[in-house]
Amino acid sequence: MDLIAGALIYLHSHQNEFGDAVWTHLELSGLSLLLGLMIGIPFAILCARHAKLSNLIMSLVNTFRVIPSLAILIIVMPLLGTGFAPALIALIVLACPPILINTFIGIKSVDQEILESARGMGMSARQILMKIEIPIALPLILSGIRTASVEIISSATLAAFIGGGGLGTFIISGLSMYNFSMLLVGALPVALLAILSELLFGSIERVFTKYKRA
């Protein structure tokens, strides 16, 4: 109980720093998710069209996937230095694999008969992509986004290691100063944010899969 009380006291006396940290955390997470989508989805569509390219990109992505988030953050540091930008890039690298892989699988799993009848009815490649493939792949794409967002929010904590700011700052300071109340001020909101994003994307997913349960 003392820990929580201590955390609340610390929070009360550092409202501005906390606000800034939350904002930086959200900015880092949101921006990297957005850029991850802008990179991941077009590449996934490209992969779904070209078998050779998909082999190359998918094996590359799967390699990236096994590298721990902290390692990626540390790897970008010598290359890009410290601060917000390298943290952002590291998080984009983390966000891409689940989005790319899920979108790719989602588009690939559209039934051949559906594609054949769409073509046979005279839909253009673009119409088939926008009206058939993406909507049918959407549940999988959304679950990829959900995975990516949870991963980003928790990994954004580590951005503090390379001076990227965010809620991780409290955790790192708390750890080094043996101040567990301070640590909680960082850790609890991160956990809360991760849960909230999980819930948010989960419910968006349910809206778009209504036709499967009707």
Binding site: E113, G120, G122, Q127, I136, Y211, A214
Partner: protein, 320 residues
């Protein structure tokens, strides 16, 4: 000479796929008259689906030219061409994430129809295929049975009122009872709409029952293209003879329709209200059964409007 009556014309069409050493479809010439219902019968791998898919350019022929209503199909973009041709496949290919009304509205929407016109069209089409618009418009494909899904598939293909329909084993995945019902209803629809239909099937009964004319294919070649009656009476070769069991009289009686053999001379029919009558599309087998049950020596043949169009006696049945 170019005949405007040919809805579909194939000139020296053949198709070979990449590594295969035999062409899938060998050099073929074919003319499909406008408004006729033509079935293509053959075993799997005989080239019947390949032939069909060249008409709407899902496959491009290796040689030859295809004309739709006198127009060379290669002069029209594939998408524009396909929007003018109805296309139905066995697995229905309904868009599972869209409601029935959205499915049916696909082509009209692409063509930019007004919303009101699309709405009316959906209602009319669903009624045409025997589905109540109020019950089915807002449902999703997976909430429907296989037979109902294919009804929607047919409605969707007819949405922009194409004059030509290509159908690739549309009833192939449907159980026998529902298939029969769908075939009968589809014949009824066709009698009303007079579309030019090219209908692929591997079911002999279906091919002979539905087609005004039947194309029999084997090993990439058309073996015979004729009316069901002529295919049964004068099979072009042993392949056709064996396929349709042409020597089996009872088999023949199932496929020959009253219309095909009846005496058209309406004036010579004795006027007798008690004499039994049957629709012109009934099989000779059904006519014979009526005749055996009846105390008259003839059966009156009527059309859809219940008008007298001919008669059948034992004399006509013997000609089968």
């Amino acid at each position: 000479m170019k005949s405007n009556n040919d809805a579909i014309k194939l000139e020296g069409i053949s198709k070979s796929f990449g590594t295969a050493n035999q062409p899938s479809v060998k050099k073929t010439n074919l003319k499909i008259e406008s408004g006729s219902f033509v079935t293509i019968l053959g075993a799997s791998g005989c080239g019947k689906t390949t032939l069909l898919k060249m008409v709407n350019r899902l496959y491009e022929p290796s040689t030859g030219k295809i004309y739709i209503n006198g127009e060379d199909v290669t002069t029209i973009s594939p998408t524009a061409l396909r929007r003018k041709i109805g296309y139905v496949i066995q697995q229905t290919g309904l868009f599972q994430h869209m409601t029935i009304e959205q499915n049916v509205a696909t082509v009209p929407k692409i063509l930019g129809w007004e919303k009101k016109k699309i709405d009316e069209r959906i209602d009319a089409l669903l009624r045409l295929v025997g589905l109540s618009p109020t019950d089915y418009r807002k449902r999703y494909p997976r909430q429907l049975s296989g037979g109902q899904q294919q009804r929607v598939g047919i409605a969707r293909a007819m949405a922009a009122d194409p004059s030509i329909m290509l159908m690739d084993e549309p009833f192939g995945a449907i159980d026998a009872i529902n298939r029969n019902e769908l075939q009968d209803e589809f014949l009824r629809i066709q009698k009303k709409l007079h579309k030019t239909i090219l209908f692929v099937t591997h079911d002999i009964i279906e091919a002979l029952k539905l087609g005004d004319k039947v194309i029999i294919m084997n090993a990439g070649e058309i073996q015979q293209f004729d009316t069901p009656l002529n295919i049964l009476k004068k099979p072009a070769n042993d392949f056709v003879r064996n396929l349709v069991h042409a020597d089996d009289l009872l088999q023949r009686m199932i496929f020959v329709k009253a219309r095909d053999v009846m005496n058209h001379n309406v004036d010579s029919i004795p006027v007798n209200a008690d004499a039994v009558s049957i629709n012109e599309l009934a099989s000779i087998k059904e006519v014979l059964l009526k005749l055996l049950e009846s105390s008259f020596d003839y059966v009156k043949i009527t059309n859809e409007k219940n008008e007298l169009v001919g008669q059948v006696t034992l004399h006509e049945i013997r000609q089968v």
